[in-house]
């Protein structure tokens, strides 16, 4: 079984999957990442799947659970580098990768994580104007649909 290396860049963990992924390697990666997030206090995880020729239901489920596990450990996961053919196949297979954030490449994944962090740190009171501003969302609530005369 091949073990996928986990790299640390600042407070982000980077995983680049370059091999045809065995189920056991995928489970091992999930465990390694959970441990590394706690050990390093990382707030973000980027999983680069540029090298993956397919994502089947098992690998898809692994990506979803990594995202959930890291969220519980106060880290965001972004999956980057999905090939177009893989995206088409995933959707037809019926996998939605619920809860998994995606970006086109590692650079955009990093930007996404940096953009999110300040908003999250002011989110102590369940959001509020500051958090909304930092996240680039409208501060004032819009009139509900149908409320206009």
């Amino acid at each position: 079984m091949e073990r996928i290396p986990v790299l640390k860049i600042g407070d982000i963990l980077l995983v680049s999957i370059q091999v045809d992924l065995e189920d056991q390697s995928a489970i091992q990666l999930q465990d390694d990442l959970a441990e590394q997030i706690v050990a390093t206090g990382a707030h973000g995880v980027i999983i680069d799947i540029t090298g993956l020729e397919i994502v089947d239901s098992f690998i898809g489920r692994m990506l979803s659970s990594i995202a959930s596990i890291s969220r519980v450990l106060d880290a965001q996961t972004v999956v980057v580098g999905m090939r177009p053919a893989v995206a088409i196949t995933l959707v037809e297979l019926g996998l939605s990768l619920r809860g998994v954030r995606t970006a086109l490449d590692v650079e955009r994944g990093m930007q996404l994580l940096r953009r999110d962090r300040p908003a999250r740190s002011t989110d102590l009171n369940g959001g509020g104007p500051t958090a909304a501003l930092a996240a680039g969302q409208p501060v004032f609530p819009r009139p509900a649909a149908g409320a206009a005369p």
Binding site: D20, D23, S57, F58, A85, I88, E92, L93, G94
Partner: protein, 149 residues
Amino acid sequence: MTAPAGPDGRTLAGSGAEAAKVQPIKSDEDVVRVRQLVRTLAVTARLSLVDQTKLVTAASELARNTLVHGGGGEAQAELVGKGSRAGVRAAFVDDGPGIADLELALTDGYTTGRGLGLGLSGARRLVDEFELDSKPGAGTRVTIVKWAR
């Protein structure tokens, strides 16, 4: 357990009556080997990149089913032809417990194992032909075909 080459006369003419290639499925590594075998045939049959990805993903789901639910078995894969069209046929065979309710097994979300219940139903959506043959106590045989467009 090698399938006779093209009993219905659909084996690619001029391919020297090649027998199906057989890959035993006994471990996680074998599931990866099945993907590689099917990928090689898909390239030979000149399937588009998206169709290659769909076929290999379906093969991965079915090979895992053979391993997890069938207790191991084998994959038989070969090139087939119909008129001027080439395609790949793959069969996944085990002597496991078999499936009692085929309708139920093909329902999205139905699972008895560790997956998402998308294996059989998802694989069926990804290929052009899909045949499920199983009886309780008599093992399972799933045959899929993907044609070049």
